[in-house]
């Protein structure tokens, strides 16, 4: 596996996407379950999504 800079860039892009999604929901939608659970669940989605794609 090579090109770690490219790899890191794409993964960082995924992280930014998740953080923006969490921030948008937390700020504008006032989720009933609270902003923190939304943030942590979006984070879980990120970790699971990234890890699942890396599975064989």
């Amino acid at each position: 596996m090579a090109r770690p800079a490219y790899l890191g860039g794409v993964l960082a892009l995924a992280g930014v996407f998740g953080l923006v999604a969490a921030a948008l929901v937390g700020e504008t939608a006032a989720p009933p379950v609270g902003a923190l659970p939304v943030f942590v669940l979006v984070s879980l989605s990120l970790v699971v999504g990234l890890s699942t794609a890396a599975s064989p």
Partner: protein
């Protein structure tokens, strides 16, 4: 996954194919989020604020369970199924629609094999949060992350040696599983104290 998708993007324009795959993942995640979020809104209409308590108890308990399985602490059969995205799609649908469909199918998260039990928390939380926007955010992030990770893996393969990339990934499955398990444990704790 890389072993199957990698050769696909060699046909036609590679960057277009990968972009279409990511769009498919985002669309798949958003679609399942809309469905689960709508179901959750109906559940909230029926249960009211009780759903918030149900969310904290059920999602936290499910996270503890799935984390224990992913960490290897609980030796129980995995909840999963054997279906994979049909490799014939790019032929039967056309090249780019097939790659889009592949991303869409993977982005749904619940229609293909589930390698980590913590993956099950994504649709469960999206449903039980009882809020459409939250559900879409959770599942779309999953779909996008899954597709972007495929892009990262495919792009990082030197030449066309996708077999070697699969072998390298295979060696990292156990650490990845532990990473997911630990993350699930941390998130269970955060939800319980929030």
């Amino acid at each position: 996954m890389v072993g199957q998708i990698g050769p696909l993007v060699q046909v036609g324009r590679k960057k277009t194919a990968l972009a279409v795959h990511v769009l498919g993942g985002i669309a798949g995640g958003a679609t399942i989020g809309l469905l689960l979020g709508f179901g959750g809104e109906l559940l909230r209409a029926a249960l009211g604020d009780t759903l918030d308590t149900v969310f904290v108890v059920v999602v936290s308990a499910a996270l503890l369970y799935t984390a224990s399985v992913d960490l290897g602490l609980l030796k129980v059969p995995h909840l999963t199924w054997v279906r994979q995205t049909p490799g014939s799609w790019p032929c039967s649908m056309g090249h780019y629609p097939g790659i889009f469909g592949w991303g869409f199918d993977l982005g749904l998260g619940v229609t293909t094999r589930i390698p980590y039990q913590s993956t099950l928390i994504v649709p469960l939380a999206a449903f039980l949060c009882g809020d459409l926007a939250t559900a879409v955010a959770i599942t779309t992030t999953y779909g996008a992350a899954r597709a972007l990770a495929v892009v990262a893996a495919v792009e990082s393969v030197p030449g066309d040696d996708y077999g070697a990339a699969c072998d390298a990934i295979q060696e990292r499955v156990v650490p990845l599983k532990r990473l997911v398990g630990v993350t699930a444990l941390v998130i269970a704790a955060l939800i319980m104290i929030s």
